[in-house]
């Protein structure tokens, strides 16, 4: 494992000009207002994005015809400051990566820090154990794959 080559953690920070509570609410309960569903979703047209507000809850999209598409499982739900998701869009059985989002008060607004990590887990689990499943990479590629 010493010579493993995996993706480094992706870290992003932005400052949003609104209160922490509002930032958390828009990120989760109103994700449909900003998530780029036209390029990053399972179904062609997405009517709703649901974050079940508890640890163990599911994050999923609902298509216009009412079909659900799995995105993630909530690992930690600490409104309005933090959430951690086990991210395996398309397939709840696939090895997940982890997305953590923190909402911190600052500069009269909210500092949003996002970390996308756990790429090494894709390597540890080994493809042969789950030849019938989609791989962890499917999450990253998402709709990209179906467009090419």
């Amino acid at each position: 494992m010493s010579d493993a080559l995996v993706i480094e953690i992706v870290r992003k920070t932005i400052t949003v000009d609104c209160a922490v509570e509002e930032a958390f609410r828009v990120f989760t309960a109103d994700a449909i207002s900003w998530w780029p569903v036209e390029s990053h979703s399972i179904h062609q047209s997405v009517a709703e994005i649901v974050f079940e507000p508890r640890a163990g809850g599911e994050v999923y999209e609902v298509s216009e015809s009412g079909e659900r598409g799995h995105w993630a499982t909530v690992l930690e739900w600490d409104p309005p400051t933090r959430l951690v998701l086990a991210w395996n869009i398309l397939n709840a059985e696939a090895e997940p990566t982890e997305v953590e989002v923190r909402f911190l008060p600052g500069d009269g607004g909210t500092r949003v820090e996002l970390e996308h990590r756990g790429w090494e887990r894709l390597a540890d689990s080994g493809a042969e154990k789950r030849a019938n499943y989609d791989t962890g990479w499917d999450f990253v590629l998402g709709e990209y794959v179906s467009r090419i």
Partner: protein, 106 residues
């Protein structure tokens, strides 16, 4: 003839994604890779060639064996793609959050 495409195009194939994941754990031979997959060795070789063409995989000789491993440059392109995706998504989030917030004007 396979032209040099984008790494993401090469990963559009599920078997190639599995090979790519296996190689994240370290260098492997074609035989090792084929043993863990429901495809033949020649098929694995062909997939490896595609991954090599887009810069995700390189190979070297270890005695009489050929070992395949991930190419850091190609993996960097994938990381940049994930990074770019979140940049775009968060920019849209910022616009939506500031738009919906009543006291948000500065």
């Amino acid at each position: 003839v396979q032209t040099n495409g984008h790494p993401l195009d090469a990963l559009g194939d599920p078997t190639r994604r599995q090979i790519f994941e296996s190689l994240q754990a370290g260098p492997r031979s074609v035989g090792d890779l084929a043993a863990g997959l429901p495809v033949s060795r020649p098929a694995v070789s062909q997939h490896l060639r595609v991954l090599e063409d887009v810069g995700l995989v390189t190979h070297r000789r270890d005695g009489t064996r050929h070992l395949y491993e991930l190419d850091s440059a190609g993996v960097g392109v994938l990381r940049d793609w994930v990074d770019g995706f979140w940049s775009e998504a968060l920019a849209r989030f910022k616009a939506a959050a500031e738009n919906s917030s009543t006291g948000g004007s500065s």
